[in-house]
């Protein structure tokens, strides 16, 4: 059964279904699909340590991003600032439940799940404690790929600052700064996380038991 032995060395493109032999790469290289040119997979430099560091920073930054005021405005001696939680609470009070729910989901819940699963995975790999529960974590990381919207929310805050610039006073809150850093971290995670390495590791470790 030469065919079955072969199957682990094969890789198929997600986008055009072309099958190719999986090449061995050194750190920092990427494999491209011979047919459509899409990246099949890439080897990252020092993936576990870097992801661990960046995702830990991301997890810590989540707290100030959610609780500290993002922007504040002053009109005629009155001052008002808003945190991310305030935005959601106000939408709930105004009966816009769908908006409140989607803002919560896209800017707090899904980014936290992704960052936490990246942290937990790299921690468990670093300490060499692999178990089947990691599969669930890693699958959740993949499931929410196109649903994180911190970057869009950040641009939204910038746009609303433009709109509010005519008011008397406009203050950039510390929440916005930590949101920018969080954005930086979550982008870095997608750069440093070596998806193929983790899947290979999980497969290698979990195969004999099951």
């Amino acid at each position: 059964m030469n065919h079955l032995n072969d199957i682990n060395t094969l890789i198929a493109c997600k986008h055009c279904d072309t099958v190719a032999n999986s090449p061995t790469l050194t750190a920092g290289e990427s494999a491209l699909c011979p047919c459509c040119g899409y990246t099949l997979f890439s080897r990252k430099v020092d993936p576990v340590n870097r992801t661990l560091a960046v995702s830990l920073a991301g997890l810590l930054l989540l707290i100030p991003t959610v609780t500290l005021p993002i922007i504040g405005v002053g009109v005629a001696g009155k001052y008002n600032d808003a945190t991310l939680i305030d935005c959601i609470m106000l939408m709930i009070n105004a009966d816009f439940y769908i908006i409140a729910f989607s803002v919560f989901l896209f800017t707090i819940a899904i980014p936290s799940v992704r960052i936490f699963s990246a942290f937990y995975l790299s921690y468990r790999i670093k300490t060499k404690q692999l178990s089947t529960s990691l599969l669930t974590f890693y699958r959740s990381y993949h499931l929410f790929d196109s649903w994180t919207m911190i970057h869009v929310f950040f641009l939204g805050v910038i746009v609303s600052m433009y709109k509010l610039i005519s008011l008397d006073e406009l203050i950039v809150g510390s929440g916005l700064v930590s949101m920018l850093l969080l954005l930086f971290c979550s982008t870095l995670i997608s750069i440093t996380l070596d998806q193929k390495l983790i899947w290979d590791l999980l497969e290698h470790e979990l195969e004999p038991k099951s």
């Binding site: 079955l4 072969d6 199957i7 094969l10 890789i11 198929a12 997600k14 986008h15 055009c16 279904d17 072309t18 032999n21 011979p34 047919c35 459509c36 899409y38 997979f41 993002i70 922007i71 504040g72 405005v73 009109v75 005629a76 009155k78 008002n80 600032d81 808003a82 935005c87 959601i88 106000l90 939408m91 105004a94 816009f96 769908i98 908006i99 989607s102 803002v103 800017t107 599969l135 890693y138 699958r139 993949h142 196109s146 649903w147 919207m149 970057h151 869009v152 929310f153 641009l155 939204g156 746009v159 609303s160 433009y162 709109k163 509010l164 008011l167 998806q195 193929k196 899947w199 497969e203």
Partner: protein, 209 residues
């Protein structure tokens, strides 16, 4: 192993979650690596994509008719829809911001809907646009998805921060719910589309000749 052969022709399937190549024994099976249930192609991909796109088109209409934001100055309400908001930006001379909002909340959703319809049509009939270009187009549609939420976030932030009671306050309008639903529907539509279907038709055509 012959290059440029499709996995489907070899009776192999690529797991959409972890990208492991599996030998297909059933039409729908679990991946041997990540236990994700999958089939060779996303099941009913075209039907789902078409349905979500239609739902997005339906939502696009009330999203543009109803106001997105209500601006109260001294108790007097001033409603503005998406396009009216952009127009007021142009009047104030904020051209870059007007352009960004116009792009994010009008051009991108509309472009996504039209693009998906074109791609859907191309899976059914052979088109002269190269498959590579079409795959890139799909990539663009999928990656632009979240940016349409920009206007919703702008309204959410403004409503939270400009809250001075009778003096000045901003409230969200009815259009925002329809708009959010439209954006979510287009993301679902893009997610349920399977770009591999674009490549299937090419193979079928070359086999026919």
């Amino acid at each position: 192993m012959n290059l440029n052969q499709k996995a489907k022709a070899l009776n192999l399937g690529c797991c959409p979650c972890c990208q492991k190549v599996n030998e297909m024994t059933e039409r729908k099976q679990r991946c041997s690596r990540c236990h994700h249930q999958f089939s060779q192609r996303k099941p009913y991909s075209l039907q789902y994509t078409f349905a979500w796109t239609l739902a997005a088109i339906v939502m696009f209409i009330p999203a543009n008719i109803y106001p997105m934001m209500v601006f109260y100055t001294l108790g007097r309400p001033e409603k503005s829809t998406i396009l009216e908001g952009i127009a007021s930006f142009i009047q104030q001379g904020h051209y870059p911001i007007a352009f960004i909002i116009f792009l994010a909340s009008f051009i991108i959703p509309l472009g996504k809907i039209i693009g998906l319809l074109i791609l859907l049509y191309n899976t059914k009939s052979y088109s002269r646009i190269s498959k590579k270009k079409q795959t890139q187009m799909y990539h663009l549609i999928a990656s632009l998805g979240p940016w349409s939420m920009l206007d919703v976030f702008v309204v959410a932030v403004m409503a939270a921060v400009v809250n001075f009671g009778f003096f000045t306050s901003i409230e969200a309008g009815a259009g925002i719910t329809y708009f959010t639903l439209m954006v979510i529907f287009t993301i679902f539509a893009a997610e349920s589309f399977d770009p591999r279907l674009l490549w299937d038709i090419e193979r079928r055509n070359t086999n026919d000749r």
